[in-house]
Every structure is written in C-alpha cells, then in structure tokens.
Amino acid sequence: MKTENQRAWFFVLPVLALVAFNALIPIMTVVNYSVQETFGNNVFFWQGLDWFEQILRSERFHAALGRQFLFTFLILIIEVPLGIIVALSMPRQGMWVPVCLVTMALPMLIPWNVVGSMWNIFTLPNIGLLGYFLNDVVGLNYDMTQQPISAWVTIVVMDVWHWTSLVVLLSYAGLVSIPDAYYQAAKIDGASPWKVFRYIQLPKMKTVLTIAVLLRFMDSFNIYTEPFVLTGGGPGNSTTLLSIDLVKIALGQFDLGPAAAMSLIYFAITLLVSWLFYTLMTKDDAQ
C-alpha cells in the first residue's frame, strides 16, 4: 500500500513547473485565438464561439476526421496483433536477442521526415525498389501520386514499418518477465498453447500492452510529418489527415481563429478517446 504523504508534492514540483510552462501558456494562446478574429497587425475582435460552430459544421473537418479515424483504426488493428505475434515468436535468450532488439528498434530512431523521404525513394515507380517491384515485376499499376488507394496502402504500411516495433518491444518486455515456473505448471496441467497465451502470457503483458495501445493511439492520431513528406495529403485530399489539414489552415491560409478552434476540438477528441482507452484497460486494476 502507498502511504499518504502531502510532501510528495515537492518531488513533483520540477516536473510540474517545466510541463506547465510548455503546456499551459501555449494552450492559453490557442484558446485566446480561438475566440477572436484578426485581420493582421495584432488587431483582434471578439468572435465568441463562432469558429467552433463553423468547424464542427464544416464538411471538410468531418472528412478529415473520418480519414483520421480510419487511419488510426487500421494502424491499431494491424500493429497490435502483429507486434504480439512477433514478440511471442522471438527467442527469449541467447545471442540473437540483442540482435533482434537492436534491428527492431532501428526504424523508431529515424527522424520522421527522413522516414517520409525514405519511403518516397522506396516507392517511386520504376526507380524505387518497391515501386519497381510492384510495377515492373508483379505488373500492378502502382503510383501513389496518382491513386488514392496506393497512397493509403503506402502510408499505412509505412506506419506499420515505423511503429510495430514499439508494440513488439513492450510485449516482449512483458513476456520475459514471466517466471519459468508458470510455464512448467502449465505444462504439467497439459495446457494448450492458446490457453498458455490466454491465461498466462496475455495477463502478464496487460500493463505493457495498455501503454503500447495508448501510445500508438495518441501518436497515430497526431501523425503529421511522415504522411506530409510522403504524400503531402494527396492525391487530391485523399490522405489529408487531421494534422495536415490543421497546418494547411493555420500556416497555409493563416486563418488563426478557425485553426485554433480546430486545434482545441482535435485535442479534446484525442483526450476523450485516450481517457476511454485508459479507463477501459485499467478497469480491473482498480478493483
């Protein structure tokens, strides 16, 4: 049991100060913009909640939000099971363990714009390895600057390539923490591999999987750099995810008011869904 101790606040204070400086001041700036209209020169007019209403009603926002949810959904249903499967089939000890861990962590350590450029080079039709293979060897008509489907497949595969290892590493951490005695007991009881997974491995991975799912949700929902570098949101608007649309409005059109209102709505949605995940996945711990 934890002891009650209000002085623990002193330990938290430095973190609080640093994060508050970075979080509260900018968010107040955004709130400030979101209720005003400006024509430049630092002249602002009170606008009330008009921007929020306008954004919530706009077709463009609905479309971008829909694409965002589709993207995040695809990412979660591909990366989480794939990550668990890879983690389950990895060796538990021996010389291959560090080799596996190091190569798997590699994609996560590449700057995001480089990831975008890299996949761009990789998928160029007739020049890139994947583009050449799909077009000239398999005979598909693959060009992500022309076809929305190709563009979607590319950004999803790119993200799977980029982030599945996070799920793998976290699941693996949960797996190696299971004492051998558990497996021996299961063997004596004659448990099937599925039962071992369901009643021993999965419960032990639960905490790390919660982290993995939450991190993958937040990061895929906020993704910007990689798809922006790779497709620029195109062809047309087909891969314009929420962040890309936001930056288009804020910096492209310099509509600070609507962009700020959209930021806050975006943030609120992320917060709400994360909170739902968090509550659902930690429900049993509280009891």
Binding site: T3, V19, W112, L271
Partner: protein, 265 residues
C-alpha cells in the same frame, strides 16, 4: 532452426528493406538514380557524403541536433526521477489527476503547439537556441519518462526503502546509493526513449530555430525543396541520421533486454 523463428526473420527483413534502399541510394550518383532501376550502385560514389562532411550547414545540423537531444535527455530524466518516486510510493492530493494531466501532454498534436511555442520562446528570448528545443521537447518527454520510471519503481518492493531507513540512511543517500543502482535499467530505458523522441521530432525543432541551432532534419527539408531533386544527397543525409540512433541502441541494448525484463512484473 525452429519454424517459429521464421516470423522474426521475415519481420526484420521487412524492416531492413527500405533502410537498405536508402543506403544503396546514398552511394549512387543522381544521374544513376534518375536513369532507372538498379539493385546495387553501378558507379559507387562517396561524393554525397563528401558534400555533407565538408559543408558546415550540413554537418552543423548534426551537431545541433545532438546538442539539444542530449540536453533534453538529461533534463527530462533528472526531473522525472523524483516525480516518478513520488507517484510510485506516496498517495497525495490530486496524484491521479496530475498523472493523467501529465500524460495528456503527449496527446496534444505538435501542430497545435507550433505557433504558440514560437511566440512563447521568442518572448523569453530563447528563440534559435538549443535550450529552447530541449525545453520544448520536455513537453512530451517528461510525461513519458515519469511513466516509464514509475513502472520500474513500482516493481521494486517498498521494503527496500523501509530497510534502508531503519539502517539509518537519509533519503538523498538512500536514493543515490541504493535506489538508483537498483533501477538503473529503468533509467537506461527512460533515457533511451527520451533520446529517441527528441531525435526524431522535427516540427517543433524546426519552428523554434532559424540558423544557430537548426536541426539536421530542417537542413534536409530545405535542401529537398531548394536544390531540386538531389535524391542521392538526401539519401546520404538520411543514412547519417540513422547512425546516432543505432549507436545509442547498441550501448543500451543490454539495459533494454535486462531492463524491460526487470520492470512491470
């Protein structure tokens, strides 16, 4: 060889293919790249790398990135340590709410913060310094470090603390000489994640710098747009951005293997 080792092998092959392609491109001349497909460089050249190592705007990009990433890792881990200790050992007013609020900062899209961050750091006179980027990255790295460390500390029985106090250790001495060595794997993992997320982030780093502290990633995007289609040069610069990360994982590889094993049982 067992059948199930096929899955990790296939997965690793999938991970390495695009990386191979990037490295192969970096040894090709721009002409060869644009003239058609070749699996291996036909005219092997180091020209792309020579450009990067002799042009200060290129290599300073790397130095700048490494400076702010290191600063951020040190700041994040050192302030997260006491906080994680407090969260794992004590109950206090608003602890759960505070913990969740910290995590919410990882949820804010960086795109939301770009403009306000620029204004904030300009107004305190830190614009275009390494410190600005290091502090800005604390927004998402501190919550993560607290979260990871809290998990590791939760796996250490409380009896360790109590025994130390009975033996007459003061808190700072206990923390530095007993507790820290016990969770050093956790510290390694937290530092690794901080390094990683600070190294790969571009949007904020680019927004908060102009010349003096410009990160390598920004140099790359500028080259990509201004110098036309210099794919070889871009590939070489990209290849070089993988190296610091690879070195860091190599050094913490045992920590990660052991460290992950120790945490969150």
């Amino acid at each position: 060889m067992k059948k199930r080792s096929l899955i990790p092998i296939l997965y690793i092959a999938f991970l390495l293919l695009p990386i191979y392609w990037l490295v192969a491109m970096s040894f090709k001349t721009t002409n060869e790249i644009l003239s058609g497909f070749s699996l291996f460089p036909q005219t092997f050249t180091l020209e792309n790398y020579r450009v990067i190592f002799t042009d200060p705007t290129w290599y300073w990009g790397y130095i700048n990135s490494i400076i702010y990433v290191s600063m951020n890792t040190v700041i994040s881990v050192s302030v997260a340590l006491p906080a994680a200790y407090a969260f794992s050992r004590y109950r206090f007013l608003g602890d759960k709410q505070l913990f969740f609020w910290l995590l919410t900062n990882r949820m804010a899209p960086a795109a939301v913060f770009a403009l306000p961050f620029f204004q904030l750091y300009s107004s305190v006179g830190l614009f275009d310094t390494h410190l600005a980027v290091a502090l800005a990255h604390c927004l998402f790295n501190i919550p993560l470090a607290v979260w990871i460390l809290e998990g590791f500390m939760g796996g250490i029985p409380k009896e360790l603390d109590e025994t130390a106090y009975v033996d007459g250790y003061s808190f700072p001495r206990f923390f530095a000489t007993i507790f820290l060595p016990t969770i050093k794997a956790g510290v390694g993992v937290a530092a690794f994640f901080c390094f990683m997320f600070s190294w790969v982030e571009l949007l904020l780093a680019k927004t908060l710098t102009a010349v003096a502290a410009k990160p390598i990633a920004a140099t790359m995007t500028k080259t990509a747009s201004s110098a036309g289609y210099e794919l070889g040069l871009l590939a070489a610069a990209g290849t070089l951005t993988i190296i610091p990360g690879a070195i860091v994982i190599y050094f913490v590889r045992n920590y990660i293997a052991k460290g992950f094993a120790l945490g969150r049982v």
